[in-house]
Each structure stands twice: as structure tokens, then as C-alpha cells.
């Protein structure tokens, strides 16, 4: 049985009480305790910096050449916090409520409430570090709104919020490196967890520059390794994002929860051809000002500019008048797919819808003219003024769109289509962010997070930093307080020996296959299976087929993959092969999880379970649980259920109409 270790007491008091009563480690003892942190994105860098400051001996690992390049850097739109600076009725409770509802009632109340509580501290911390958030002319912080909410609580730095937050955390981390509290291992990939007497006590990492395997001991191991969206091959994730660290932990006993909860983001640049290696997001913040539409007629081949207003279908505004273009992501993505499947799509591929800024440009232009007290401004000048405002808000996104597509979105509407973006599933963790393997913690996107079956925009950055800055410093101490007499274990211990051998055997096996098909080609095929059968819409038949196909693909991979080069050198193809092998296994579990969940909720849409007007149909009586899968051997998992208990919020059908 999994114990979520939720503290007793009223929801509002849980975290305060926990902090007041958890065990502490005194400074002299902290210096004797070693902590391994794998991953230095927002979650890992903030944890490494904070734990280093507290005096723990930290070793941090990332596969990029510098922690500053973690995938968090790419987050665009913003970060939520219940500051209520706009006086528009926001509060900790409302952020908590929106997150639970947005997640379609599949997240744990206690964790989400804590997240909302610490959200305000994150903004303060980042400002103090020098994160240059957008500001108003009065010098105060500016906010924007994001999907799934009706208040303005999103803090941002143009379209580069993740970059600025990560640079802040990276700088705090580098400061600890300089002070000698953190040792940083860049271009290192963790390939195994070392367990001794049931506890996580270290890792095996590979130095990617020369291929050497290294053993590292820690009194605790924190995995902050990001999401697994690249199982779909095409996603908005960075090329190197992978599931390997979490998967290795899973195979060593850590339960993997809700793997089928993946988020398809509604506004991405459509696929342009077979050469496509990744997809690019156009931030959700664009939905504040852009209107989404398709032609009212099927198969309309006219240019956007030739389609008159009355022949356009603003389908989100039509279907969801209360939230309009700002419905949550899962709802917006499915609506786009529905229109395209029905033959209303645009562009050459017909797998796209328009995101149009012309109305916003005119609206802003008029406001600008109004500010100057002029009411005689010609339309052309209004448009010029409006474009300036739009540029100030979204300039970098528009530039990026133009670089990729060669089209100017100030003049013609953007073409967008949903793409894989985020994974709500991940390693199961309790209230303390500890997995069911003692000593093994998981933070950030890699854990089964606070977002249930669907994440609201601007909440991942919040969660990553909450976990790293404000949660783990307390919860880790609570168990390390019992470890102060535990001496560091020599890495000559047989468990290290065995784990290293496991890794080297696996690498040798991969290299010795010497087959005919490239790693990339396997990854593409895997992605196609998962996208088509476990993507935006799923059904029993497709999932069963997918499971068989993935199993067959796995066999083929292990008998016919072709990896060039040597083991003891920089060899990106080998690194990729290691990752793809794990993605294949994860793909199978995703389909099993999706097949098990006979309901639709959030990002998990089972075609068999929908309302007459095509909305997701939840089954709270039977599926109000976290599905935590334990690995029992090849293609064999055991399901553990963590029931979700709603003490404060009463689950209802989500309604954005």
C-alpha cells in the first residue's frame, strides 16, 4: 500500500503544522550529509541552491554542457502566484481551486494547497535574485491572464519567463558551486539508482565526454529530471529531454503514476514535413489576444484574408462563451482536432487552425490613439500603433514564428495545431516528495505532480520552483534527521559494483547488436504509434493494438538497432539509444494505463466515454485514484491505487461554457 503521508488537520493548517513539527538537522550534521541531485532545471537548480545554502554536501548532475541550458529555459508564457496584486479577487484558495478543477479532480488536495500557499514566496525570491519580470510604469510587477482562470495572476518576462527564472536559479546554484557547497557534474547522464538495504544510496552516472561510468554516493537521491513528452518523438520538449532517470528508478522499485496523463498544447506551429525533429510552442499567453477560428465551410481553400468575417467560425467562443479562447488546454486542443477531423482545417496539410491577431491589433491601436486624446486617426495608423503594442507583448514569439514558417504573423494569421507539451504523470511521490523507495525523491515535472489529469498554463514553473525552493528543504530534513549517524558508504560496496555492471552490460549489449536501423528511426516509429493511439483521443481497440505494436518494436530494437562509434568517447547516438530503449518500455505502460482508465478526464480522452456534446465524461465512482504502477518484470506491472479524497472541494463536471 502506498502511504501519501498527508498530515492530519484542516487543509489550511497542514503545511504550517508540518513545518512546525518536522525534524531538523543541525548545521554541523548537515555538513556530513551528502545529497545527490539529478537534473538542474528549475526544480533541480532551485533545490541544489537551497540545500547547498543550508549546508548539505550536494552533488548535482545534468546532461547538457551547463545547467543554464535545461529544458526549463524554453518556458515562455509565465508563472502563476496568488499575490492578488491586481485586486481582482485572487487568493490562495482560488489558485488551489483552479488547479484542482483544471486538473479534472485527479490531484491530491493537500499538495495542491501547499503549492498555492508557497506560490507568492516564489515571486519574492525571484525578484530578490534579480529576475527582471515585466513591470508597469509605476514600477510594480505586471500580470497577465492564462487559460482556465478568470483572474490575472501570471507573472512574466516577455515570452522568456522560463529563461529568466532558470537563469535566476542557475546563478544561485553557481554561487553555491563557488562556495564549495555544490559540486556540479555537467555532461553527465544518470543511468542507474544504487539501492542498499532498501534505501536509495547513490547513482551510476556516465561521463558523456569520455564514456566513463562513475559511482556516486548520497544519503538521499533527488530526481529532478523533467518530463517524458519525447516518448511521442515530436513534442515541444528539448531534444535531450528523456525519461531515463525516472525509468531506471521505476525498475528499481519506484512506482510510476498516471503515465497516460499527458498534455497536448493547443497552440504549436504545425508539422511541416517528415524531416520535422521537434515542434515549437506558441505560448498560451497568445490566446489572451489572438482569436482562434476556421472557415465555416469544409475544405475552404481561400486565403485567410479572403474569407469574410461572417464566414469564419470562432469555434471556442461559440462553444464556450464564458471562457472563450481561454478554455483550458485539453479542451482547446480537442476542439481543434475535432474541427480538423471534420474537414475544416486550414493550410496545406489541413491539420491547422488560425490564431488571428487582427482584432487585437486594432483594439490596442485604438487604445493608444485614445491615450493621445486623438479620435481622428486613420485605420492604417491605428494598425501601426496596435502592432507596436502587440510587438512589445509577444515580439519574440512572432519573430520565432516567422523564422520557422517564413510568414509574417502581424500580417496573416498564425497557423497552429496541438502538440505534445507536458506530462502530468511521473514517479509517484508522497506529501514529502519522496517516492515509495526510501531516500529517493522526485521533484518538478518528473513527479506525478499537482496537476492531476491536466495542467493549467503557468503552473509548471510554479511547481518546479515550489518543490525546489520551498518544499524539499523541509521535507528532506525530516528524514535525513534520522541519518546523521549513517556514515558515507564507500563506492566499493557490492551494490555499487553490481549497479555499475548492470549499466555496462546494457551498454555493451546495445553496441554489440550492430543491426541495420538507426536509433532515430525507431524513435520516430514509437512516436507515431503513441501519438496515433495514445494521443489526443484513445480507445480500447487502438490501445490494445498499440501495446502489441510497442512490444514488437521493442524486440526489433534490441535485435536490429545500429549504433555507430565507440563506448569510450563522446557518442550522442549511444546516449540516444539508451533513452529510446527506455521510452519504448514507458510507451507500453502508458497504453496499459490509458486502457485501465475507463473514463475521460483532463488530457486523457477515451472516445468511449464522452457526453453527447463531446465533453470528457469522468467516472468518479470508479476512477478517483492515482494509478501507481509497480514494475514486476518485463511487460508486467502491478497496479496500486491511491484513492483521492476531496475534503474541501466538491468535484463537479468541469464547465467552461
Amino acid at each position: 500500500m502506498l502511504d501519501a503521508k498527508i498530515p492530519a488537520g484542516p487543509l489550511d493548517d497542514k503545511w504550517v503544522d508540518y513545518k512546525g513539527h518536522c525534524k531538523l538537522v543541525n548545521p554541523a550534521n548537515k555538513r556530513k550529509l551528502e545529497v545527490i541531485i539529478v537534473g538542474t532545471g528549475l526544480a533541480g537548480a532551485s533545490a541544489a541552491a537551497s540545500l547547498g545554502e543550508l549546508g548539505y554536501k550536494v552533488k548535482a548532475f545534468c546532461f547538457q554542457d551547463s545547467p543554464r541550458r535545461a529544458h526549463s529555459i524554453a518556458a515562455q508564457g509565465g508563472i502563476n502566484a496568488a499575490k492578488n496584486y491586481q485586486n481582482d479577487g485572487d487568493s490562495v484558495f482560488r489558485l488551489f481551486y483552479d488547479t484542482i478543477k483544471g486538473g479534472d479532480y485527479r490531484a491530491r488536495e493537500s499538495n495542491v494547497h501547499r503549492l498555492a500557499e508557497v506560490s507568492a514566496n516564489i515571486i519574492d525570491q525571484c525578484v530578490a535574485q534579480g529576475v527582471p519580470f515585466a513591470r508597469e510604469y509605476g514600477g510594480l510587477l505586471s500580470n497577465r491572464s492564462f487559460g482556465g482562470t478568470q483572474v490575472q495572476r501570471t507573472f512574466y518576462a516577455a515570452g522568456q519567463t522560463g529563461q529568466q527564472l532558470l537563469i535566476g536559479a542557475y546563478q544561485a546554484l553557481e554561487r553555491q558551486v563557488a562556495l564549495g557547497n555544490v559540486k556540479m557534474y555537467s555532461r553527465h547522464e544518470m543511468l542507474e539508482v544504487v539501492k542498499i538495504d532498501g534505501k536509495a544510496r547513490g547513482i551510476i552516472a556516465r561521463d558523456l565526454v569520455n564514456g566513463t561510468l562513475e559511482r556516486h554516493f548520497g544519503h538521499a537521491v533527488l530526481l529532478c529530471t523533467g518530463g517524458y513528452g519525447n516518448v511521442f518523438y515530436l513534442s515541444t520538449n528539448a531534444m535531450g529531454s528523456n525519461v531515463t532517470a525516472a525509468w531506471k528508478a521505476h525498475k528499481k522499485g519506484a512506482a510510476f503514476a498516471n503515465p497516460c496523463f499527458t498534455q497536448i498544447h493547443p497552440t504549436c506551429i504545425p508539422v511541416s514535413g517528415d524531416h520535422q525533429s521537434k515542434l515549437t510552442l506558441m505560448s498560451e499567453s497568445l490566446r489572451n489576444d489572438g482569436r482562434i477560428w476556421v472557415p465555416k465551410a469544409q475544405g475552404d481553400n481561400r486565403k485567410a484574408s479572403e474569407i469574410p468575417e461572417e464566414e469564419r467560425d470562432y469555434y471556442l467562443e461559440r462553444r464556450y462563451p464564458a471562457f472563450g479562447n481561454l478554455v483550458p488546454r485539453d479542451v482547446a486542443s480537442r476542439a481543434a482536432k475535432e474541427r480538423c477531423d471534420e474537414g475544416y482545417g486550414v493550410g496545406t496539410s489541413k491539420q491547422a487552425v488560425y490564431l488571428d491577431f487582427s482584432a487585437a491589433i486594432i483594439r490596442y491601436g485604438k487604445i493608444e490613439a485614445g491615450k493621445e486624446g486623438r479620435d481622428d486617426v486613420a485605420e492604417a495608423e491605428i494598425i501601426t500603433m496596435g502592432k507596436e503594442v502587440v510587438k512589445e507583448k509577444y515580439g519574440n514569439l512572432f519573430d520565432m514564428y516567422e523564422k520557422i514558417t517564413g510568414e509574417n504573423p502581424y500580417e496573416v494569421p498564425m497557423r497552429i495545431y496541438p502538440a505534445v507539451h507536458y506530462t502530468m504523470g511521473g514517479l509517484w511521490v508522497d506529501y514529502e516528495l519522496q517516492t515509495n523507495v526510501p531516500g529517493l525523491y522526485c521533484l518538478g515535472e518528473a513527479n506525478v505532480s499537482d496537476h492531476g489529469a491536466n495542467r493549467l498554463g503557468a503552473s509548471a514553473l510554479m511547481q518546479g520552483l515550489a518543490d525546489g525552493y520551498f518544499v524539499i528543504p523541509y521535507t528532506l530534513g525530516n528524514s535525513l534527521a534520522d541519518e546523521i549517524y549513517a556514515k558515507a558508504i564507500e563506492t566499493t560496496h557490492p551494490a555499487f559494483e553490481a549497479a555499475e555492471k548492470e549499466v555496462s552490460d546494457r551498454i555493451n549489449k546495445l553496441m554489440s547488436i550492430k543491426g541495420n536501423q538507426t536509433v532515430e528511426s525507431f524513435h520516430k516509429r514509437l512516436g507515431k504509434i503513441i501519438w496515433e493511439k495514445c494521443g489526443m483521443a484513445r480507445n480500447e481497440k487502438g490501445l490494445k493494438e498499440a501495446i502489441a505494436e510497442v512490444q514488437a518494436l521493442k524486440k526489433e530494437f534490441w535485435s536490429d538497432v545500429k549504433i555507430p562509434g565507440e563506448i569510450n568517447e563522446m557518442n550522442p547516438e549511444l546516449d540516444k539509444a539508451n533513452r529510446v530503449a527506455d521510452f519504448i518500455e514507458l510507451g507500453e505502460l502508458m497504453c496499459i494505463d490509458a486502457l485501465n482508465r475507463n473514463e475521460s478526464c483532463g488530457g486523457h480522452f477515451r472516445e468511449e466515454y464522452q457526453t453527447p456534446d463531446g465533453e470528457a465524461l469522468r467516472d468518479d465512482a470508479n476512477y478517483m485514484y492515482v494509478a501507481a504502477w509497480e514494475y514486476k518484470g518485463e511487460s508486467n506491472w502491478e497496479l496500486n491505487k491511491e484513492p483521492l479524497v476531496y475534503d474541501v472541494i466538491k468535484p463537479t463536471q468541469r464547465n467552461y461554457k
Binding site: K83, G139, F470, E569, E573
Partner: protein, 253 residues
């Protein structure tokens, strides 16, 4: 936008590791779509090399959307290639035409040793940040974010400098391999904010000292860095850096 296909001749720097000498090798790629990114064209080439039993070309990349700073190719004599304000990963093949020859090299600077082929070691940048590129504030020490109003212009100017992605193109473009644009961007980001004030002097002194130690060259104001920077980091930051450095030197006890 009209799409087209092209065949290209590539002249690519190959080097096994930092201890061996490198050389240019010639490759041909065919039927490349103008819609591909430059790195997707390299993906095609690498798949081809693997199938032919050759060693694929190693290069750094990750986000492929111009923000992580990993990609770093010196293309036809320009870091990140021909487009203005652009990274290698965001360069698209419509920048080239059928029959073109494209020469691709790694960043070249003593402080950035080659790891393999087009991949170099830029950890010197991390060490420069370690020398002082931060505000010393521990987690939990912060006051309310709005307790310190910052004029919008200052915040915007700070942000403009903070946009640096740490790619190192400025160094690669500079005939002296100077890292002044990178360093000045960080110094400006922090010096323009009131939070950065207390450590202003020590920061600039320590970071400059580290830069010199890493073996980057001196700045002779040629402006090649600004012209090549994908984030359009302005030369005025270098002027600010010089000023900060001078002030710090004058008032040092």
C-alpha cells in the same frame, strides 16, 4: 512562402577529440526541403552517415528554438550563419539555394577547446558566472516582490541584457576571442537593478579577473560580437561594463 528542394555540398570540420588534429571533410546532401531547419538538414546527413557506416557529426543542440544557447556552428564564416539575430537551430534552409557549398566549423577560441567535431567546451562561461554573476540572497530571505518598485525602463533594460543565452557566438566572432559582450550582459543585467547594487564592485572585479584567467582575449571594440549576437545584446553594455570596472577600481580600498 514558396517551398523548394535543393542539393548542397557541405564542408564540415571533423575532429575526433581535443588531442587530435582536425580536418575538413566533404559531404553531399540531396533533396533538402527549404522548410527544414539547418539542424534538421544535419539530421538527414547524420542518418545518411550512420547508414553508410561512417561516424555521424557531433554537435551541441537541445531546445531547437533559439533559447538554450547550446547550438553553435560557424557557418560560411559567421557564427550561427547568415541570418541576423538568429541561432543555428533557427536558421532555416530557405537561406540557401540549390548547388550552394556550405562550410561548417566549430567555435574557435583557446578558451573553448573542441570536444568533438563541432562541439566545444564552454564551461569557462559557467566559471565566470561563479566568480560573481549573481545576487547573494539565500532562499527564504526575500521581501515582498512589490516592496521595491523598479522603473519600467530600468527593468526593461536589465531584461534586454539578461536575454543573453550564453552561446558564445560573440567570442567566436571576435578576432581576439574576447568574452566582453557575454560578461557585460551579465554585469548590466544585475547592475541595472537596485537588488544588484550591494555587490556591484566586487562582482565586476571578480568576473573580469576570471575572464582573463580563462584565456579570453582583450576587447578592441570592433563590434563583431554585437553584429553576430542572436539576442542583439548591445555594445552599450560593454561601455557600461568598462564604467563599472573603472568605478570599482577607483573606489577599491
Amino acid at each position: 512562402m514558396e517551398h523548394y528542394h535543393m542539393n548542397l555540398n557541405l564542408k564540415v570540420w571533423r575532429q575526433k577529440n581535443c588531442k587530435t588534429k582536425g580536418e575538413f571533410k566533404l559531404y553531399r546532401v540531396e533533396n533538402i526541403s527549404s522548410e527544414m531547419s539547418f539542424l534538421e538538414m544535419f539530421d538527414v546527413l547524420n542518418e545518411q552517415l550512420i547508414r553508410d557506416g561512417d561516424d555521424p557529426i557531433t554537435f551541441d543542440h537541445d531546445c531547437r528554438e533559439g533559447i538554450c544557447g547550446a547550438c553553435s556552428m560557424y557557418i560560411n564564416g559567421k557564427p550561427h550563419g547568415p541570418w541576423q539575430a538568429n541561432t543555428t537551430c533557427q536558421l532555416h534552409m530557405r537561406a540557401f539555394k540549390d548547388g550552394d557549398t556550405v562550410v561548417v566549423e566549430p567555435w574557435r577560441a583557446d578558451a573553448f577547446p573542441v570536444i568533438k567535431d563541432l562541439m566545444v567546451d564552454r564551461s569557462a562561461f559557467d566559471r565566470i558566472i561563479q566568480a560573481g554573476g549573481y545576487i547573494s540572497v539565500n532562499t527564504g530571505n526575500a521581501v515582498d516582490g512589490n516592496s521595491l518598485p523598479i522603473p519600467k525602463d530600468d527593468a526593461d533594460a536589465s531584461f534586454a541584457a539578461a536575454m543573453c543565452i550564453g552561446c558564445g557566438a560573440c567570442v567566436a566572432a571576435c578576432k581576439n576571442s574576447s568574452a566582453m559582450l557575454f560578461l557585460s550582459a551579465k554585469v548590466s543585467h544585475l547592475a541595472l537593478l537596485p537588488q544588484g547594487n550591494p555587490e556591484r564592485k566586487s562582482r565586476v572585479m571578480n568576473m573580469v579577473a576570471q575572464m582573463d584567467k580563462e584565456g579570453f582575449g582583450a576587447c578592441t571594440n570592433t563590434g563583431a560580437c554585437e553584429a553576430t549576437c542572436p539576442k542583439e545584446i548591445s555594445l552599450s553594455n560593454i561601455a557600461r561594463l568598462n564604467q563599472e570596472y573603472l568605478m570599482a577600481g577607483l573606489t577599491e580600498k
